[in-house]
Every structure is written in C-alpha cells, then in structure tokens.
Symmetry: C2
Subunit: 505 residues, 2 copies
Amino acid sequence: MSKSPVIAPTDAYSALLTRMRELRVADSIEQILDWDSETYMPRGAAAHRGEQAALIAGVAHERRTSDELGALLERAARETGGDPVRETNVREMRRVHERAVKLPTALVQEIARSTTVAKEAWSRARADRSFSAFAPHLQQILDLKRQVAERVGWDSEPYDALMDEFEPQARAADVQRVFDELKRELVPLVQALTSAKRQPDLALLSRPAAVEGQQRFNRLVSEAMGFDFTAGRLDISTHPFCTGITTRDVRLTTRYNERYMPQSLFGVMHEVGHGLYEQGFLAEHEFTPMAAAVSLGIHESQSRMWENMVGRSAAFWRHFYPRLQAEFDSYRDVPESAWVFAINNVRPSLIRVEADEVTYGLHIMLRFEIERRMIAGKLAVADIPQAWNEGVRSLLGITPPDDAAGCLQDIHWSLGIFGYFPTYQLGNLYAAQLYAAAERAMPDLEAKIAAGQMRPLLDWLRTNVHHHGRRYRAHELVKVVSGSELSPRPFLDYLNGKYRALYGV
Amino acid sequence: MSKSPVIAPTDAYSALLTRMRELRVADSIEQILDWDSETYMPRGAAAHRGEQAALIAGVAHERRTSDELGALLERAARETGGDPVRETNVREMRRVHERAVKLPTALVQEIARSTTVAKEAWSRARADRSFSAFAPHLQQILDLKRQVAERVGWDSEPYDALMDEFEPQARAADVQRVFDELKRELVPLVQALTSAKRQPDLALLSRPAAVEGQQRFNRLVSEAMGFDFTAGRLDISTHPFCTGITTRDVRLTTRYNERYMPQSLFGVMHEVGHGLYEQGFLAEHEFTPMAAAVSLGIHESQSRMWENMVGRSAAFWRHFYPRLQAEFDSYRDVPESAWVFAINNVRPSLIRVEADEVTYGLHIMLRFEIERRMIAGKLAVADIPQAWNEGVRSLLGITPPDDAAGCLQDIHWSLGIFGYFPTYQLGNLYAAQLYAAAERAMPDLEAKIAAGQMRPLLDWLRTNVHHHGRRYRAHELVKVVSGSELSPRPFLDYLNGKYRALYGV
C-alpha cells in the first residue's frame, strides 16, 4: 500500500470517507444485535430484537442508498489520481451503493424483521426435529430473497444476483463446472479411503474432556495462532460464528461437548482463522473497503487453512500434542500418531460442520444444488426435506434420521442467506492454492509450525492477503499471490497427498 | 386500569402509539450497546462504541423531537376522552418531547460520544487511583451538561433542570429540606449505634464462598423473589446495574468477591428489585409510558425494599439461612442471629454501594452537595477530590486513602448523570412508606416472608406500583398508595425500630 503516491485529500473523497465511516457504524450496530441474539439474549426477547434489527437496517440502508452518497461517489471517482487505495474504496463503495439503491428500504427492513423471527423459529424447529414448523418462515424469506434477486438483476439465473453479495462476480454456472471437476475426484477418493484396510480409531475422539479444560486449551491455541484477546472475545452459541465489528472488536463463538472435544477445538481454530483476518486489516483503513474481506470465499480460505491445513497437520501436533495430553488426562495413553490419524478420519456423515475435509465438498454441492433450485422456483419449500434426503443418499450413501440431521441443520436460510454455501467450498480451493504459495515462499514453514511458531504464516497472510483489504477481487488476489488462476488442482493434490499417505492407499 | 371506558382508537392516538414504539426501539438499541460495553465488549473497542452510541442517540433524538410527533401529540391530547391510559401516555410523551426539542441533536450526540469514552477513562482512572487522568473528561461532560441545563431552563437553579430528567418535578431546595431533616436524626443514630456495647461480628462476613456457590444461591433467591430468567439475565460487570430493554428482556449485573459474599448477594437482591419492576409492567402497554417507571426514586424504592426491608430482615433469613448454610460450608457454625446482626452492621465507611442503610443517606448528601455546586459553577473540577474528602470527614468522620475510594468510586458522572444521586435516598424514603402500606394491607406479610413466600409482596407491588406505569407522578403515587404525603418519618421509624433493637440502644 505504501507505494502509492501521496495525494492531498480532496473534498469529495474526504466527505466520502466520513460517509463510509457512518455507514460502517450503523452496520456494526446490527452486528452487535446479531451477536447478542446468538449469545446472551433472553429467549423471550426475540420478537423485539426483530424490531431493533429492522430499525438499524433501515438506517444503514438509507445511508447506503442516499443521493448524497451517489453524488460523492461520482465526484470522488474522478479524483482518485490513480491511487490504488482510493480507487479500491471508491469502486467497492460504489458496488455496494449501486446494489443497495435497487432495494427499497421497506424490503430490506422486512428481511431484517422476518429473519430475526425466523432464526428463533429455526432454532425451535431444529430442537423439535420438525421442518414443518419452520416451513412458513422459510417460504416468507424465500419470497423476499427472490424479490431481491429480481430487483438486483441477473444475466443467467437469479441465484447469481444473490451469490454476488457474498462472492462478487462469481456465477453459478462457473461454480458448477468447478464443483463437477472436484466431484469426479472426490467421490473415488472417499471410496478409496473408506474401503482402506488401515482405519483410524475414532473412539478415542470421544474421550472425556471437561469444558474448563477445553476452554483453556482453546485459548492456548488461539493465542499461539496470534488472536488478540484485548481486541476480541470467544463465547458460546448454538451455531459457531465470527463477527468482525472493527479490527479492535472481533467476536468468535463455539459450542462445547464434553464427550467430543475436537468439535470445539477445530471449531475455534476455524473461527480464529476468520478472526485473524478481521483483526489483520490495516488500522489506517478502518471503516473503508480497504479494511474489509475480499469475499466470503477468501474469508473461508483463512478459516479452513488454519483449521485444516495447519490444525490437522502432523507438524502442528508435534508441538501441541504434549500440551493436549497435559490438559486432558484421558489422552495420556493415546499415541500422537493415533490422534493425528483420528482427527483426519474420512467418513460420509450427516452434519456439514462436523464433516471431514474430503467429504465436506459433497455437503456443499448438495446445498448449492438445492438452493439454486429453490431460487429458480424449481423446488417447493415443502419438498425440501425429500430433496435433501435423496441428495445425501446419492452423494454420501447415507440417510438422515430426521430433519434436524438433515435440512434443518444449517442456520443460513433462516437468516435469508442464499448463495453463501458455495463460498465454503471455494474457500477450501483458495486455501490450498494460497497455502501452496506460502510454502513456496517459506520452505521452512512446516518446520516452524512443528516448533509451535505460527507467526511466520500469520505475517505472510497479513502481507499477502489481509493488508490488501478489497484491493483485489477474489480471483485476482489468488492470481497475484499464487501466480496462477484459481484451480481445484492444489486442493486435490493436498487431499491426495495427505490422505493417501495416512490411509496407505 | 380496567376501569377506564373503552374508546375506539383514533388516528392521532394510533399513530402516536406507533411513534412511541419506534422511539423505544431506538432507545432500547442504545441500552443493548451500553449493556454490552459494561459486560462483554473487548477493551480495545471503546472508541468505536462511542461512535455507535452517538449514531443511535442521534436517531432516537430526531424521532423524539420530530415536528410530526409534536403535531400528533397536539391532536392526541384532544382525543383522550378522559381515558387515564391515554392521558398518561400523551402527557408523559409530551414531557419527553418538550424537553428533547430544547436540545440540539449535535449536543445529544456529543454527550453520547463523550460519555462512552469518559466511562472507559473513568474505569482506567479508578484502577490507577488517579483523579487527574479523569479530570479533563469530567470537565468536558460537566460543560455539556451545564449547556443542557441552560437549554432546558430552570427557575431556582440549573441543577433542577438536570434532576427533572430522573425525578420529574423534584426541586433541589425541597430535597435539601428533606435531607436536612433526615440528617438531624441520622447522625445521632449512627453515633448511638457505633458506640453501642453490643456489636456484630463482622469477620464472619468474610468467610470464603466460591463464586459458583454464590451464583447458585443468588439464582435461588432471585427466583424465589419472582424474577423471570426466561425474560432476563444476570451477568458480571464492574458496576452493578439493571437495564430493562423490554418487559421480556431485563438484564442485571453483579460482581463477585470470594472473601465477601454479601456484596453480590445483596447487590443481586437490589438489582432484582429493579428488575421485577421492569418485568412488572403490563404487556398491553409495552413501549408506552404506561409501561415505564415513574421516576428513578420510585425505581430505587423497589430495589431498596427488596434488598434491605426484605433481604436484611430476620424474617427472610428464617427461611433462607438454612439454605445459605447448605450452600456455604464456611457458615455451618455461624448462628442465624449472628448472621442477621452482621448483615445489619452500621459503620461509617468509604464506599457508597457497600454502605449500610443508616449511613447510606450521608453518602448521598455528600454527592448531592458536591454536584449541586459543580453544576452551579461554584466548585471547579480540580477541587473535587479535596471537597469530597472534606465532606466524608465531616459527615462520616473518616478519610479516603485515595480517589478510587473517594470521588472516583461512582460511574455516574462519567456517564453525564447529574441529579441522579438524590433519587437513591428518595428511594429509601419511598420504600419505607410503601412497605408500611403493604404491611397494613397484609398483616401476615412478615409471616409469609418467614415461610419463604414472597409472592404476596410482589403481587401487591405489581398491583399498587408496577401496573400503574407512569400514570402517577412519584409524590402522587406515594399518596395514592400510602394515603399520606411523602415524609421521612416511615424511614426513620423503620431504622430506629430495627437498629435500636439489634444494637440494644
């Protein structure tokens, strides 16, 4: 960033910075309300929370769409002087503004209100294992989001208009091609691994681990990864998430199971990966697109890289396994190699967030296909459970016993989030391609990690990914950093290399 | 409320209800932000929180002061048809509107922003025991609040304009007369008790009590008092408080000390007293002045009644002491009478929130005198520590070792809250007068409490205080419920009766 010429601030650009800041402040209030409703809000307060969310969403939307902002963007666009920071901020703010002006405030508020209520309904329906109680809420949200797609506009299919919010410029047809290519190798790989003679001992993952011990160990790992707890938190929620309110206020959540410790451990490493990105933007760019994530796919690349490529590597556990054994008595007699094999077990399963790296992509393909059909009007809400269960059978060869383990497992649709799921799998691809670049840049990376030193990787990510903010689009960033276009190849190479060795196939 | 005639809704009043609701929603967002910053916000996030608070305070202020609201209030005032609910809502909304229109949005936002930063500065200054680090923040806030007083307007002194926000229609000169009358009896009572031969064993209050045990016991007591945890929470903060976001979302905080369990126990009973009031408004009036507290003095009457008149009574402990002993091993050998005497010890001390019922009023008189002089421009910020320490010496005969135990102990000024302290002592007076009325209405009240039954008292408070919302002013409510004007007599009778018996003087 420091290479750009110094330009005196102009009125339009300074005024634009003020508007950006005010807008981020409004959005950040909505983030606090969301965080609160996921963590500490009393159950009885859900309906009122919807009113609050609608109010602040309305304020933010008015600011995002104001004519004054539009005029400022026009003027500032002529005054960037070729400065890449300014160009980025104007271009990205404009993208947000132009999308937002297509959406009436009433529609935005209606979505905020409905999703707040629907999220609670989803939570209850999941607990009751009953899709039908959630169906009317989902229908309402689907109708609203289809209105959004129509108003935003699309070339090939309405799904693109929704996905564009999360992964700018991505197209469903392109994603489908990449996913098809992946599927061709993933399905046989899963078969090879599940039918291998050498298999991990999964029972050892269920050894007792007190919540207090998990909290201590998670904290140890999070701090070693570089997460700054004076500028962040870790709390408990039903559905783990990370919300970056500012670089100085990044909040993660997890959930604990005393008979399945890996859930929170890898969940926390995942959210810390997101959190490091949010804490890693340059303070000088706070509240502008230069201090915001490129896309959800790039965001997910950070979480998956830390969770899987680091957290499930043999190198990582060379340093941390003795510390894990010191915390959990029940692991004293478990050899390090058995632990590493077990946390890398591959097995078709029902719950996406608990799926292994290899089958994970198949869960995403299922959701991508179903929601694409929903948005296209080719799948009725009432038919979702059946479509879901058939898809799981076809891709993974197993059947959910109920909707809680099926189409009710994810929170996303209740929040009105469609077109988000594919970014999870894109994240895996980005992660592998970026990590391969990091390894080329730092040949001793694995040795450092094996010595418990994760700072070199974080510093590399800071410089090569975080500090750029939204300067590059996702596909540009991948090319700038790795030297090549996005390809599923590095991810498949990573999977084949790691898993065929572990399973001896 | 049910006695009022049924009137068809008119356009102006219905529209007014909608506006009231929107306004409460905005205010309630500010409450969530405040609660978050006191409980879970990472330290690094304070500056940004100021921006958030300023934004939402601005939105609320614009709504509170809009010409449309003013016009609606005019029309609705002509359409109440004598209905007391409508009359109350229109009158009280008008009071809020007329006060708010005198304050420019920029001033309101500046106060929200400055106090958010000052609160953090106060917290650090208190930890460092250094008033000088806080002084510039306090000076800024004092200047802003003096501007408020001038804009709101006053007859006798600017302090009245500020106190009116918390205790409508109260006047500093009247409060001074009541406080002087109290002081005449309190000072000799304190002398009689401190020089009595019979004295409690205070050491037993410092017996070890694990935080987990305190949390369990606090919960037991809170639920027995009738607090609904599906519509509320209890968290930890430096300065305990209660915030009623809606009747279905009431949040209390406390702090724990393993070597001084009564702090959190009585702190929680105090906050639950506030919380029961907030949960006790009628749901049909939610978001209107009919579902809001009369004044802070009346609010405090609820907290002090539960904390002191119930929580420090011999009757209460007849039921709960065996339960306390069951939770805390360290109290197994402490006789019930020794415990009851110890929790009712009277002793001049430095910290207001830890002061006993008898000396508490003297702490309030000190603050009332100092802040009245600050607002009148008769006491410079730099001179506060000296004035404080001299006041403590004169009223209580002791001297603070540093400002943390002196003028930095309370959060209020950092929040821009002046004219609030006297409502604490008014609360004690209201509490005694209301409780005497409850005893006349229910001669078996003490016996019920001794049997662990607190529902009769809560039901009486619901009917006689909570359900009225803001229908009556504080002095009217006291008269309606007790049959007489406010007087310090019931409070002094209560203190003399209880403490002279305990101390044998």
